[in-house]
């Protein structure tokens, strides 16, 4: 008997679809986030977005314009080629994070509405996804995924071996900037709908699991979204039935999958060692 009250899909169909979509796309993009060592870009950009809203309130401009402007600015800075710089990319990311958090508080301290109001504006939670937001997500994530699939080779080659890529006639700077741009837009949009922590999780935990499990990029790019979708589905189911906050449950499931993956990996290593000697 189908008891619709106890059926996750009947009750939270939109949230479920949104979750699976976001999980799939973000975890694919996340493989490159890890390889490019830009792991904390998710929370950095959400701090920057908060700061943008605070600034927009102060200037009286529309809040989302402010947050978009600052996020794009941050992304532009981060897409600079760091190969020849004296500090690594993540140091700049850390500085952006600090500057954004501190500036938000200062902006709020001197004027504008409170931090709560800003947080409320940027607050997202997967379970609260509405039909309209689902459509927005589709409108952003599907083109992002298409971009990524289409530009797969030039982006991979640029990241893998920038010099060789440039000799091959690949416009490395352009692709790098485009990649970070798309990533920035995806993060900004999805964080606001599904929650910053959850997006961070999709961008990092699931790709990391995939990278541990396989040494083949193609396999990694398939495992990562599968992991993310599994975590999303089971996380939503568990949070539904055990009355837990959804986003955090999904994050924990993803982390458990990571731990399982790492354990399997170690086990396989151990077995191989045993069999050989």
């Amino acid at each position: 008997m189908h008891d619709s009250l106890n059926c996750l899909y009947c009750q939270f169909g939109d949230a479920l679809s949104a979750g699976l979509l976001v999980a799939a796309v973000c975890s694919v993009l996340g493989v490159y986030v890890i390889l490019k060592r830009a792991v904390f870009i998710g929370i950095t950009l959400s701090e920057v977005a908060t700061c943008g809203v605070a600034a927009a309130f102060l200037l009286g401009t529309p809040p989302f314009a402010g947050s978009l402007a600052l996020v794009l600015g941050a992304v532009a800075l981060l897409s600079l080629p760091f190969e020849r710089q004296q500090i690594p990319r993540d140091a700049l990311m850390g500085i952006l994070f600090i500057a954004a958090s501190a500036l938000s508080v200062l902006l709020v301290a001197k004027s504008g509405p409170g931090l709560m109001e800003i947080d409320a504006l940027l607050y997202g939670d997967l379970i609260l996804t509405s039909r309209r937001e689902l459509v927005t997500l589709l409108g952003i994530l599907v083109p992002a995924l298409l971009f990524f699939v289409g530009a797969f080779r030039p982006i991979l080659y640029t990241f893998l071996d920038r010099d060789a890529a440039r000799v091959l006639g690949i416009r490395a700077g352009l692709w790098e900037t485009l990649y970070f741009l798309v990533l920035g837009i995806v993060i900004a949009a999805t964080s606001q709908i599904a929650g910053a922590l959850l997006i961070f999780c999709y961008l990092v935990v699931c790709p990391a699991t995939a990278l541990i499990l396989s040494k083949r990029l193609m396999v990694v790019l398939w495992i990562a979204p599968l992991m993310a979708m599994t975590a999303t589905f089971s996380g939503m189911l568990i949070s539904f039935h055990a009355d837990l906050p959804t986003n955090q449950t999904i994050c924990i499931i993803a982390c458990l999958l990571f731990i399982t993956g790492a354990a399997i990996k170690q086990l396989v290593r151990f077995l191989v060692r045993l069999r050989i000697s």
Binding site: Q11, F12, A15, F57, L58, G60, V105, V108, A109, S111, G112, P113, G114, L115, M116, E117, D119, A120, Y123, D125, I127, L128, T129, S130, M236, S239, F240, D243, L244, P245, T246, N247, Q248
Partner: protein, 277 residues
């Protein structure tokens, strides 16, 4: 089914509804109602609610509308009979003048201070409003609701002299609070609030502000610093260290302390703590 946003409202609504309705509250009293992590259960609660009661005045600005939207329960949308804003008939304090409510001088509590349930007489009003609304939604039990509300009001009336007596020592004795969450309580018991430790919600106190607090405490010979458990005690300790004032930590919502099981025990507890017991 009645769903309230905060546990105080829950406690009052339960008293009014008696056996005729099930009352659930979203916040337990341990969370700050400004910051809430959505769970599927909240949406299920909203979905099955016949009456939704909120504190209003932007206290739940962060999550209320997403939860209602997510529930797709059109009966409890603002403006519907199933939606009750408990602040409707409250005499609101701290409303910024129309002139100064510009973005530049903006304030978190743009519609006034929403922490009005700390005044028992406001609870009295809210009980009446709830009873009227329930009577409208469920005419069959209208009399029962009105009777329950009257009983609740009577209990308040009985306790007021007792509370006032207990608070007599504080009459015209200024206190310091952390957040602007005690103004209704203070006003009721004739206890002026000299200054808040937090210059603005979410903004840490600046050195100049701390100095000002210390000076105020010294000048006005203030003996008590009152705050909720979810704020750090450090600023209060600093001031107390310099002035010898006493720090009182008291819950502001039902359920915020194991002893605060309902609205009456909450007020009892606050007064007890203030009295130094």
């Amino acid at each position: 089914n009645i769903v309230t946003t905060t546990s105080d409202l829950g406690s009052i609504a339960a008293a009014v509804a008696g056996d005729h309705a099930k009352v659930e509250s979203i916040c337990t009293g341990k969370e700050d109602p400004h910051h809430l992590q959505a769970r599927p259960k909240y949406i299920m609660m909203a979905r099955n609610a016949d009456l939704w009661i909120r504190t209003g005045m932007e206290l739940e600005i962060g999550w209320e509308m997403p939860v209602i939207d997510g529930s797709r329960n059109s009966n409890i949308r603002p403006g519907q009979p199933g939606h009750l804003d408990a602040s409707t008939n409250i005499e609101k304090l701290d409303i910024p003048d129309a002139g100064t409510i510009s973005r530049a001088l903006g304030d978190v509590h743009a519609q006034g201070n929403p922490h009005y349930l700390t005044d028992p007489l406001n609870a009295r009003l809210v009980a009446r409003d709830i009873a009227e609304r329930l009577a409208q939604l469920d005419p069959a039990n209208a009399e029962a609701y009105r009777a329950n509300a009257a009983a609740f009001q009577q209990r308040i009336d009985e306790r007021i002299p007792e509370w006032t007596r207990a608070m007599a020592a504080f009459e015209n004795q200024s206190i310091v609070t952390y957040h602007k969450s005690w103004i209704y309580f203070a006003k009721r018991f004739g206890m002026p609030i000299a200054i808040e430790l937090e210059p603005k919600p979410g903004v840490p106190p600046s050195p100049a502000h701390l100095n000002q607090v210390v000076q105020t405490v010294q000048q006005q010979k203030i003996g008590v610093i009152l705050q909720e458990p979810w704020y750090s005690k450090k600023p209060a300790q600093l001031v107390a260290g310099k002035t010898g004032a006493r720090i009182v930590v008291a819950p502001i919502a039902t359920g915020g302390d194991p002893a605060a099981t309902d609205y009456f025990s909450l007020i009892d507890l606050i007064i007890q703590r203030l009295g130094g017991k």
